[in-house]
Symmetry: C2
Subunit: 413 residues, 2 copies
Amino acid sequence: MPADSLEVDLDRILRRLDDLWAIGSTDRGGVTRLAYSEAENEAFEYLRSELSDAYSVREDAIGNLFASRRPDADRSVHLGSHLDSVYNGGRLDGTLGVVAALEAIEAVNASDRSPAYPPTLAVFRGEESARFGQHTIGSRGALGMLTVEAFSATDENDVPLWLAMQRAGFRPRNLSEPTIDLDRVTAFLELHIEQGRVLDEASDRVGVVTSIRAPVRYRATVRGADDHSGATPMALRQDALAAAGEMIARIETIATEAAADGDLVATVGDVTAVEGAINKVCGEVTFPIDVRSNELAYRERIEDEIVSALESIAARRGLDLDLERIDRSEPVDLDETVIETLDAAAGSVGTASRRLPSGGGHDAMNFRLAGVPTGMLFVPSVDGISHNPREETPETAIRDATATLAEALTAID
Amino acid sequence: MPADSLEVDLDRILRRLDDLWAIGSTDRGGVTRLAYSEAENEAFEYLRSELSDAYSVREDAIGNLFASRRPDADRSVHLGSHLDSVYNGGRLDGTLGVVAALEAIEAVNASDRSPAYPPTLAVFRGEESARFGQHTIGSRGALGMLTVEAFSATDENDVPLWLAMQRAGFRPRNLSEPTIDLDRVTAFLELHIEQGRVLDEASDRVGVVTSIRAPVRYRATVRGADDHSGATPMALRQDALAAAGEMIARIETIATEAAADGDLVATVGDVTAVEGAINKVCGEVTFPIDVRSNELAYRERIEDEIVSALESIAARRGLDLDLERIDRSEPVDLDETVIETLDAAAGSVGTASRRLPSGGGHDAMNFRLAGVPTGMLFVPSVDGISHNPREETPETAIRDATATLAEALTAID
């Protein structure tokens, strides 16, 4: 590491991760800190208690927290992530991004470097869709992007998001008005676990995110005829499950071939045999399809290929196929200048890094959509595991990625 | 129809079917008459009320009913079926076999024919496994074949079979002792709906059953790795659901090819994606496999072929595959002499008939296993539908099959 490198205190990072790991812990070995729950409130209080008096702290109308040592600065680089979790989630998703951002700011502050744009720690509410079926609630709200639909979404007890916000002590008002002054945000940076296997398989410590894949999603329903498994000859069957099996395997084949020519993943992650039984030919099967790419045109080409393949399988078998498109989001390219800054920062830290797309959405995505120059760093997820108590990242990667984030803070000009 | 043919009263059959259709009727349009339920008791009482005083009626220790006009005869042809149903079952499964048997006996009695062996109506309890997970309880009990395991099986309220029998008013004792004198049973005949599509597709009215297919059954569990659907490149996946899809389609292909060379059906009628979700690569999938044939050696050959195919799919993909064999029953050939008698009887009635194997098990199967010359007649299931309120058989087929049964009664010597 270069002699003038910034000092990252790994022990302090790990202590803060441990402290947050105890908030909302479950008897299944993980944490449950849902959006606008008591546990999320407690995590925000903890974080506030870790900030020295040198920080000026602001809480916005929906509970996001912004902290800066230089609140008077005209422009500031914002960095951070979220503190909520899925049901029985892990130690790192979101939380690491907040703790690492704070450590990067403190490392810069403790050095003799003087960044062009003083940093602001940004901590968001409710990034996970676990409670309300709505993702990135806090960052969308901060950017004035929260729709009325999202605001009215309910949890499993039929509590709408707006009421949950009020009960947690906040007073949301004009949804379309950002809670932060975008003109004063020079850039947005987020560090996050990869939630995939790319860095872990490649033994890289830091990933620089180039783009965020977005999904087009379908719900497929295949209809044939229910029959007795023993009494119905093979030739007389209209077997919806055998057809679905062929379709699911075909989607994998198409996606695997497409991944050789461009950025693409396609997945069937669930299946339901309607009234299935061991002694029946199954007459109806449904399954979801999730196709993602960071190139919209390429995704649309493969989407068409999958749809035609499924339709021809159904037609050949004489079955009904219903394909309902249930989601269609647009991929986001991150800012090339910020990507180069992060690449250079990783280089100056001397860590093994690579560029890669993000498979899932993150708070950073919304800043990019709002026109803010945005970058993301990934750290490896051991075995690709996330949304799970077994979520893990090597400590060396946490240290190097945090140092990279600190270097980037001083490099943005 | 020949001039001396036996007179079957179709209206009386339909009235009795209507009367029984009202017993245990559900608000979902079907009937629920489970083994040893109030509804099953009521159906037995109804049937008893339809027997004239000329019948001598005997109820055995587990509630089966035997009725004959000639209880003094040395030997008797037994014929009948069951009165219980699955949950929300149809009008004909079992019930038609009882009503048709009674009608055949009455047709013979009203004629000037004198059968060599006077008929006995046999009505069995609990043929369906709906309540206790145990099939053909009544006929197994009548033949001394009820195991202690079956006898202790419980329903969804943890009531064991033996207690349910007691609560229904019966006093089962020595399980291994038949409740009927097998030396006095010349033959056993059962008429039943096909529960498949063969007769309906061929427009035949009567089927003569040659054999009863028996299943070998597995529960397959495929294990890979749970991953994020957006973040995991195709090449790094261990997708248990894509593997299961390929396996399910392959089983269908193997069975379809095997059906060209011998009697064989193989089915995957259900599938469970463990913790499946639209945004996951699914790490664990289970599905049952049901392989049936009336030729044991052939079934074993195809079973081996399926097992190897699945193992090689799992090996190529680097996934774990667990194949647990959960059932292994032996196919039963019905009695050739009785088959020929039934064939000739159908011919004398002048109806379109064909020989076919039975896909499912029936009370008749147990008589064959007990060494009694046994035969079965099938009537078409419209669209192959059974275990469903939409169960239907053309009235002409009901009439012709009942007449065939009556003809056979007078022909057995």
